[in-house]
Amino acid sequence: MSWDPSRRVFIREAGLAAVGIGLAPSSLMVRSARAAGAGERVLVKVFLRGGADGLNLCAPYADSEYYNLRGAIALPRPGSAGGVINLDGYFGMHPEFSPLLPFFDDGRLAFVHAVGNPQVTRSHFDAQDFMESGTPGDKGTATGWLDRAIARIPGSQVTQAVSFSSQLPRSFLGPEPVLVAQTLAAFDLRARNWRAEAETLLRVMYEADRTAVGATGRETFEAVNALLSAPASPPANGAVYPNASVGSSLRQAAQLIKAGLGTRAIFVNVSGGFDTHSNQLQNNSNDYRPLGQALAAFATDLGGLLDTVALLVTTEFGRTAAVNGAAGTDHGTGYCMMVLGGRVRGGRVLGRWPGLSRSLLYQERDLAATVDWRDVFQELARAQLGIAESLFPGYTPGPGVGVTT
């Protein structure tokens, strides 16, 4: 790794002083972080791993080619049983997204269609790598695009960037500290009757380790102490999260935002059955139901704070336009994003629709990509994190698709 791991963590003076006397860093420090963080804008990236099919997420039901290509896995027109939910007379969203309709109708949810990148790869792992490093075609980039974004904004507490995932996502790879957690519940040392002693001595050990392992240990204690002082907040406004990992992640993301710990970027990893090589209708329903419920609960829970948030749902690529031999679809190109937030220019399907007739498909098989995802990422980073300069080495993003105000 070419970045210096010791830069990844910084221990503030207060934290170091606390080690010496065997105390947790003072809650004063956390309060000041909270004051600094209150009302600041937040960017949330929800990554659907596996290549989520855009044509059934937001279906061009008015394009007759859609029904020719999709056959048995085409979603029926609006108004039919199991039909899509009409958005604009041309596109309809997947029926499992019905909890999101109020947010589309009041202009806080947008779709961006036919997104992709000229550097097409149909490998999941290369496509995810390129999208998260932000450098399509170049596997040598040492940092992720969200790490570079966080590096450009003030503050360096571990709660500034949070990932709900089992591993550090490539998007956050780099020198900035990141709190990676599957769950923030019971985020504390289990050492009954000797917790203070255990923390003090472990901090001494991890302080002496100047490798990435030591850095991780120091981040761990910083996170433990920040979260211990965060007020618990049950879902508000009657929000009900689904019992699924995306529900638990977004519930905790909302808690962090409400706690005001200075969180500016949140990554939510979703690994479901998006790689729908077979039995796509059932797989999509299984995944989109909790996703729609979780997004709606998140927006409801945040209430007015949703004005500070822009949440992006993305994936690594779309899927073949035509159904394959197993009522599924294979790896493709253009896909569909969703953007949810109080200041999103929603209630519309953005982007430039390339059409589905055979000659317009990419390599005569995939929905073509007409919007570069880097443009949308940069537009959101500009609106939410105030970053004007390019986050994508070797590329100058355009103005974006107008999804932010």
Partner: protein, 470 residues
């Protein structure tokens, strides 16, 4: 073996932590007495382990065929839980208690290379047979055999949808079936030549055509492999330098495996992955080239390849000693071994692995879990590791017996004296390699308290940064 001279506890610890899951108490001294080279040769030629067999004898479903597991499940769906419980429990017990450490580690490595996902429908019933029949027998054999066994096992054919990959047919004006590219792509990208080998989308399609017809007999009764010649595409094919004339059948896939298994790109791809496992997250280019050369010269003999790795100067190089962060599984097993733990019921261990981000057999994407230690470093996983260590050493882990007091006492230390306890554990399981700061911090625990001194010292040392690397 060019092991460094002089041989000492540090070198023995390195070997035990790289070619196995780390030392049990006192094992460093025993291996030094026994001879490192001899230990390696024994690991490369695993013999029956009767003690392990008796520990596993209560897990009766480990020997069952997929058909038998399906029959049990059809009679009572609750049977599946027992089957999967036994599979995961056996994996932990083999790693913690087994003598053939290298074989266990390689079984884990190659299963992960040919990953399948336990929660994927039919694979719940086939995964026991998959690991036992397709992976384990071949990990010190030829890669070609491993490739063939894993690729055509029903668990893989299901996981990568190849059982649905068929020649499209026209039935009364409707097209039925068709190519499914999933396994054809991963065969090239993940299982053999690797994504950077230079193949094109056309090669993926052609490989998928070769794979048409290779499927599963019946998903709810036999669960066996079946080739359906009527579903096979008999046209001529060109896959990444291999030409197959028209009229071929089931044998085509064997020719493709022959072609890919000893391809130079495969040798490179696999050698880099093995060097990452055994030497460094970022292995030296020269090492990868040398191992790839052994791979090609031996026709993909995996025992020769591993022997070549252990025989390389880089394997023993100071620059790579205690530098590689452990995966959650490596950490948990090494901590259990270091604590001299007896594992009766691994349920708590399996929960902890899930908390650390590495639930057993449950990696959803076909990449398998990351082979790079650095990818596993994050605060949530780190906290779970510390808590695992503290629970383990204080005897608070259900189903696991570990006694830090007797570990220290049996080795001649004083379990009530913090410094004596810390120094004894350092000698017994760290080969005396602990950082001075780690050792002195552990020796600073209060000599009184409701949790015994040896349990606190042991917990801190197992939770220490020194324990996170190998």
């Amino acid at each position: 073996m060019p092991a460094p001279d002089p041989l000492g506890p540090r070198v023995a610890l390195h070997l035990l932590s790289r070619a196995g899951y780390g030392p049990r108490p006192g094992e460093i001294a025993r291996v030094l007495d026994h001879g490192l080279t001899k230990w390696i040769e024994e690991q490369l030629d695993p013999q029956p382990d009767s003690e392990l067999s008796s520990r596993l004898s209560r897990f009766t479903t480990l020997d069952y065929t997929t058909a038998r597991i399906l029959a049990l499940t059809n009679a009572d769906p609750r049977a599946t839980g027992v089957v999967l419980d036994e599979l995961a429990s056996a994996k932990v017990i083999r790693a913690v208690h087994g003598r053939n450490q290298l074989q266990e580690l390689l079984t884990d490595f190659w299963f992960n290379h040919f990953n399948v996902f336990v929660n994927d429908g039919f694979d719940r019933y086939a995964i026991t047979a998959y690991e036992r029949d397709a992976i384990r027998p071949h990990v010190l054999g030829r890669f070609r055999d491993l490739l063939g066994a894993a690729s055509l096992h029903p668990a893989m054919l299901y996981y990568l949808d190849n059982y649905l990959n068929t020649l499209p047919r026209r039935v009364g004006g409707r097209v039925v079936g068709g190519i499914n590219e999933n396994q054809g792509r991963e065969l090239l990208e993940l299982h053999t030549v690797g994504v950077d080998a230079g193949y094109a989308q056309g090669d993926v399609v052609e490989a998928s055509r070769v794979l048409t017809g290779h499927g599963i007999d019946n998903l709810t009764t036999s669960g066996g492999y079946l080739f359906r010649s009527g579903s096979h595409d008999t046209g001529a094919k060109q896959v990444f330098g291999l030409s197959l004339p028209s009229g071929g059948g089931a044998e085509e896939v064997e020719k493709l495996f022959d072609h890919l298994a000893i391809h130079p790109a495969t040798a490179r791809f696999l050698s880099k992955k093995l060097a990452q496992r055994f030497v460094s997250d970022d292995p030296p280019e020269a090492l990868v080239a040398r191992v790839a050369d052994v791979f090609l010269r031996s026709g993909g003999d995996l025992a020769q390849v591993v022997r070549g790795l252990f025989g390389s100067a880089d394997f023993w190089a100071e620059a790579f000693v205690t530098r590689k962060p452990k995966t959650p599984f490596e950490y948990v097993v090494s901590a259990l071994r270091a604590a001299g733990a007896e594992v009766a019921n691994p349920a708590a261990i399996r929960r902890a692995l899930a908390d650390m981000g590495q639930p057993l057999y449950a990696c959803n994407p076909p990449t398998g879990y990351s082979n790079r230690g650095a990818d596993w470093l994050n605060p949530s996983s780190q906290l779970a590791r510390m808590n695992f260590a503290l629970d383990l050493a204080s005897g608070a882990m259900t189903g696991v017996t570990a006694n830090a007091r007797s570990l220290v006492r049996d080795a001649g230390g004083n379990p009530d004296d913090p410094r004596s306890a810390a120094e004894t554990i350092n000698r017994q399981v760290f080969g005396g390699t602990l950082r001075a700061e780690t050792l002195s911090a552990a020796a600073r625990v209060a000599s009184t308290g409701s949790v015994p001194v040896a349990a606190r010292v042991g917990g801190l040392l197992l939770a220490s940064p020194d324990m996170q690397v190998r």
